[in-house]
């Protein structure tokens, strides 16, 4: 659940915050024209995102890299044109409202088109392994994804509401800085795509820029959060210095109610900001925490065999044993009794794909420590995929007998 909460938060935060800012500014500045353009932008973006999700998950027609290059290019061009049209202002005469509004229509639609398809594709990705929507794992993951969406949606609405209470000049400044941050991210991501696809020749400087932008990609989200946090901070400070004139107690109550409302939206922005940061820091560290493998259990080594009595491993849980070589390398193997069976799944605590990373037990399932693949316990002991490497063993006298000679073949697997 937490993993999908994190994924959806990272995926949608920038889009939702920027959309909140832009919609608020355009609707207030350009009245009905702006409002209609923003409605069209959101609608267009959602429809385009749905179409994109369908094509991405059901066909091989979408090259995401090329698509993103186009989105970045059009988006940056629309942003630049928006700035030019805004600067020209009244000189555009009858087009003063429509041109900047349409530019932001394009930006909002493309923000949604860029961010939402991956989010909408989560059920498809989950169902690659879960097979049915009626599984607990599917349900938990989708709850995480929906919680993430609600969190950023509330943040976006709060930004929209908060920005509506600020001067247009200040909101325009925030929109400009926010989109500038987004454009820088898009430019660095373009370098990454074009270098990887060899659209442009190898260039060390561009690679270094793309590398740092990629490795610190969350910084763009934090910077956008920082920008929108200006709204609640300014509103909070102002709410303590209210000296609007009033002529009767009713007007006074109205003014107080207005500022109370603004403080509430400001608190919502800050609370969402804190939750987003916590999800991306604390949540991320929990999601990415390395699982400590259970210790290797003692086992008798006799006549060149490691002996594991049945009564030590017949509880249905994962057990880890090992043999330490003269070089000090412990060659580990796992044993688990198969569900509703008297047979055992036995294999090396390593697989061909992920190496000696090992397996751990979680909620009655055996999971690869590196790639998180959940193993089918019934197939442990068979070759293939991320299954444990098959080892020689025999059953004798109520014991699992694992020849040391067979284990020694895998010494190099364990460093």
């Amino acid at each position: 659940m937490l993993k999908y909460l994190l994924m959806s938060t990272v995926q949608l935060t920038s889009m939702m915050l920027l959309a909140g800012l832009i919609v608020s500014y355009i609707c207030r500045t350009y009245g009905n024209t702006g409002k209609r353009c923003m409605q069209a932008g959101v609608l267009l973006g959602v429809i385009a995102a749905l179409i994109m999700t369908f094509f991405k998950t059901n066909t091989n027609r979408i090259d995401t890299g090329i698509w993103n290059l186009r989105i970045y290019g059009v988006s940056i061009a629309a942003f630049v044109l928006f700035l030019i049209f805004t600067a020209l202002g009244k000189r555009l005469k009858r087009l003063e409202a429509i041109l900047p509004s349409v530019m932001m229509l394009i930006v909002v639609a493309l923000l949604i088109l860029y961010s939402v398809p991956d989010y909408l594709g989560y059920p498809h990705a989950i169902l690659l392994t879960e097979k049915t929507v009626f599984s607990t794992a599917f349900l938990y993951r989708m709850i995480g994804a929906i919680l993430g969406f609600i969190l950023v949606l509330v943040a976006g609405v709060a930004v929209y509401k908060g920005a509506a209470s600020l001067e247009r000049g200040l909101v325009l400044l925030l929109v400009t800085i926010g989109l500038l941050i987004n454009s820088i991210r898009q430019i660095t991501a373009s370098f990454s795509i074009m270098l990887a696809k060899r659209i442009i020749p190898s260039n060390h400087t561009l690679f270094v820029i793309a590398k740092y932008a990629s490795n610190y990609s969350n910084a763009f989200i934090y910077l956008t959060l920082l920008i929108v946090c200006v709204i609640p901070i300014v509103l909070w400070i102002r709410s303590f210095r209210v000296n609007e004139p009033y002529s009767n107690p009713a007007e006074h109550r109205k003014i107080r109610a207005k500022w109370r409302n603004r403080r509430r939206w400001s608190t919502t922005v800050l609370a969402c900001g804190v939750l987003i940061v916590l999800t991306m820091t604390v949540g991320s560290s929990i999601v990415n925490r390395k699982v400590e493998l259970s210790p290797v259990e003692d086992a008798v080594v006799e006549d060149g065999n490691v002996l594991v009595p049945f009564d030590r491993v017949s509880d249905g849980h994962l057990h880890r044993f090992g043999y330490t070589t003269e070089n000090g390398v412990t060659i580990r193997f796992i044993v688990i009794q198969k569900p509703n069976s008297s047979s055992y799944g036995i294999g090396l605590d390593a697989c061909d794909i992920c190496g000696e990373t090992g397996y751990y037990e979680k909620n009655g399932q055996v999971v690869c420590n590196l790639c998180d693949v959940v193993m089918n316990i019934n197939t442990i002991g068979f070759k293939g995929g991320c299954n444990p490497i098959v080892i020689d063993y025999s059953i004798h006298d109520g014991q699992i007998v694992v020849p040391v000679e067979g284990l020694m073949e895998y010494e190099s697997e364990f460093k």
Binding site: T33, R36, C37, A40, L44, I47, A48, I51, T59, N60, R61, I62, D63, T64, G65, I66, W67, R70, V74, R94, L95, A97, I98, S101, V102, L105, A109, L113, A125, L128, T129, A189, S192, I193, L195, A196, K197, R198, S202, F207, A210, K211, Y212, S214, N215, D352, I353, C354, G355, L370, C371, D372, V373, V374, M375, N376, T379, G384, G385, C386
Partner: protein, 190 residues
């Protein structure tokens, strides 16, 4: 006038967006495979083997390997035969190999390692694996190719039907190894 202009621009945007959706399929369509491979290096000659490496999006695979969660790329070694006395047709895929991979970061630490699996994609058979490689860096990639004999592959040894060579000619001094240095990698959005 304003409404007409707004509607026109909105329609143009929609047309441009959907138009590029179809146009974007071009690279795959041109390649015939229907997906875009990102090259790492091409046509390294190792013994009797022509070796190229590419990567693309993590892919679900059969036999319990459907999950793509936690993986960043599908790393693939394209291996075909050069002139040889082992009976492999030049340019054809070489089966029964064990191919190990190791990806080492600029700090000298191993970022990913393991053994490829054999599989088929729409562009044919290859050795590959989904791997986690979340950090952008300049990596060195090493491929170690074991003799097909290790997996039980046999050669006719008589003069009449045999290809005329032996695996010892190529693997007598050990496994074939190739290291590509300086793979500038940044994670991609798929």
């Amino acid at each position: 006038m304003k409404k007409v202009l707004a509607s026109l621009m909105a329609v143009m945007t929609a047309v441009a967006m959907s138009g590029s959706a179809f146009a974007a399929a071009a690279p795959g369509a041109e390649g015939g495979a229907g997906f875009t491979e990102y090259p790492i290096f091409e046509d390294a000659e190792v013994g009797f083997i022509n070796l190229s490496a590419v990567y693309f999006q993590p892919v679900p695979m059969s036999n319990g390997n459907e999950s793509i969660e936690g993986f960043d790329i599908h790393l693939e070694a394209d291996i075909s035969a050069l002139e040889n006395k082992l009976g492999y047709e030049v340019g054809s895929w070489v089966p029964y190999l064990t191919v190990d991979y190791e990806v080492v970061g600029s700090d000298g630490n191993v970022a990913a390692s393991g053994t490829f699996m054999e599989m088929s994609a729409s562009d044919g058979p290859h050795y590959g694996a989904n791997i986690a490689l979340p950090n952008a860096d300049t990596y060195n990639v090493t491929f170690t190719i074991h003799s097909p004999e290790e997996n039980g592959y046999l050669l006719h040894t008589d003069a009449e039907t045999g290809p005329g060579g032996s695996f010892d000619e190529y693997f007598g001094e050990g496994n074939l190894t190739y290291t590509f240095e300086g793979w500038d990698y940044t994670p991609q959005e798929w």
